[in-house]
Every structure is written in C-alpha cells, then in structure tokens.
Symmetry: C2
Subunit: 184 residues, 2 copies
DNA sequence: GTCTATACGAAGATAGAC
DNA sequence: GTCTATCTTCGTATAGAC
C-alpha cells in the first residue's frame, strides 16, 4: 500500500536495479535518478532523502512478501515444491525487491536485516507445517537459502549450481522427497 | 604468499572488518586506515590505490582456500561432515576473508565473482567424490551455501536457523546421512 | 614507513525557478 | 512534479615533509 504515482515506482525499480546489478556503492541518488530518467531534484521530490528511498523499498517488499506467503500456502503441488522451485531469483518483481533488500541487509542496514529474518521465520513455519519434522524443515529452508544465495552471486552461465534453471530442479526435489516423513 | 609486513596485514584485516560489519559503502580508504591505526597516507604506501587493496584481499583468499580444500580432503570424519560443520561463518581468518570477498562479489566485482565460482567448483567436486551421487552432492553444496549465507545475514542471536552453532548440527547431518548412498 | 596538506570529483541535500 | 544551481561533506589520490 505504498506507491501511487508512476514516477515513484520507476524510482524504486531503478534503485533495485542498481542495488542488484552493481551493489550498494552504485546505488546513489544521482545514479537512481538517472536510471529512472529524472533529475536528482525530481527524485528528491518523491523521496526526501536516501533514508526515505530505502524506507520506500522496504515497504514495497513488505507488501510483496505477504502475497508470497499466501501463494506458498495455496500451492497445488505443495509448499516444499513451490518454495524450492521459486527460491532461485528468477527476476520476478518479488525476487528483485527481495535481492535488493538483501544488499541493504548485507550493508548492515538493521531494519532490512530484521525484516528478512521475520520473513524467513514465516517460511520455515510453513515448511514445518507441510513436512511435520523440524530437522527436515530446517534442511529444506537451508537448501532454499542456498538456491537463493547462489542465484544472486553466480553468473547465470557457467554456474556451478545445477538447479538454477527450473528444468533441473526435479532431481533435487526427488532427493528431498526421500527424507520427508510419510503421513497417513 | 602475499603479505610480509605486519602493517599490510593489519590493513587487510581492517578492510575485511569493515566489509563484513558495515558493507562496501563503509569500506573507504579513510575508514580502513583509521581501523588499522594508520593514516590515509600510510595505507597508500602499502596499497597504492583502492584497486590494489582489493587485489591484496583476493590474493589472501586465494592462499587460504588452497589450505581449506586440503583440510576437507583429509578430514577424519569425512568431507561432508567437515564441510557442513565449517560452512557457517564462525569468524576464523578464512571465514572472514571469504565473507569479505563475498561482499565485493555482490558489489559486482567481476574478479571476486569468478574466484568464488571457482572455489565452489572445487568444493562440489570434493563432495561428489565423497558421496558418489551428483544430485545428493548438489543438495549438500546448497545446504552448505545456505548455512554460509544465513551466517552472514542473520544476527547470531534470535536467528531462524537452528544450525549456526556447532552443537545443533548433528540433527542436520543425520538427515543428510539418510540420502547418501551406502557404498561397499 | 608514516604523516600532513592539498586537489578534485562524487554524493547527499537545500532553495528556488518553471 | 520536475528542473538547475548551489552548498557541504566525503572518497580517492598526489606531493612532499619527517
């Protein structure tokens, strides 16, 4: 429930873009404004300071995560399948916002860190609900983390991870299925 | 085989410290020099530019990784046990250098990205050698990634990961053991 | 080897015109 | 709602003294 004006959204998109592709250091007001096609002054009309720009990004993520959790719960093939298949950042709006906030968290932005920790808590809870075993749920959450992490560090091509393309994920899901307790 | 002088090493330590604790943006020449207890001019005697400072860090990592791979191969409890137990950054000199370089990679430093990809390749190869199954090896590598990633984002306390302390890792290793093919 | 002084462009932010 | 001009501080780098 944050953005109304199109320019505001374009500015957040540009901010994400720079954080993802070139890191914190490149995500300057000048850079963001240019990437969004406005001047620095134009940006500062919508976001009065860099802190306000960051707040705008965090608010956007907050909205998107609520949707994501709902999607996981209602996924036809089950929560684990959905989570693993969507872990690797694939460039969806949600993925982009999430990766961008990750960069801020790694730059030690405390609020970003807290927000990411909160979301992870929710994900782990949903998985545990689905598999009924705490250790297995934790393992699956870690695999999800691993997929996400690798997708944000390695270049798509010549990656050392077999599973960054949706097609290859079946093998991984098959291995995971072997440790999920059967239920009656 | 890079550093000889103690000041040089202290500067690299300080550079790592800032990258890890406060991100790229805080890792300025001024900041690094101050953290190492020298002046900006002092730093620039040892590393003539910021690029040289980064090169120094990459060279340090290169040395440390060679040792790590050797440790994995010769670990008494096996490669998988060793890898999983040492994945979460625990603040060893190797961990610190590795996390610091990860920050550079996420800031889109290409050489850092390539170096990390190369190391991961080695690790995956060692795991596959140990477990004899590609999918299982990939899964274990992802869990290792997940442990590492979480250890660099979440605050030690109130973490959502059960396994960031060595004590809790047995449960995770037990689950992993269930999918490793038995050999004769 | 380490320091101070200085140059210069980049980054965040304000004021006011259109 | 967007722009230009301007201010201040920060970040990188050079020169030269100690």
């Amino acid at each position: 429930m944050a953005s109304i004006t199109p320019t505001r959204d374009r500015l957040l998109d540009a901010f994400e873009e720079l954080l993802i592709e070139h890191g914190e250091r490149a995500a300057t007001l000048e850079g963001v404004a240019a990437a969004a096609g406005v001047s620095k002054g134009g940006l500062l009309y919508h976001f009065g300071s860099k802190a306000a720009l960051i707040d705008g990004l965090l608010a956007r993520l907050s909205d998107l995560v609520a949707e994501d959790i709902a999607d996981i719960r209602s996924a036809p093939a089950g929560a684990v399948d959905f989570l693993i298949r969507t872990s690797a950042s694939a460039g969806t709006p949600f993925d982009r916002t999430f990766v961008a906030v990750t960069r801020l968290a790694q730059g030690s932005h405390q609020q970003a860190k807290d927000m990411l920790a909160g979301f992870r808590r929710d994900w782990v809870a949903v998985i545990e609900e689905a598999v009924g075993d705490r250790d297995v749920a934790q393992m699956i959450a870690l695999i999800s983390d691993g997929l996400f992490y690798e997708s944000t560090v390695s270049d798509a091509k010549d990656s050392t991870v077999d599973y960054l393309s949706p097609a290859g994920l079946d093998g991984l899901l098959a291995v995971i299925a072997r440790v999920i307790p059967k239920r009656d």
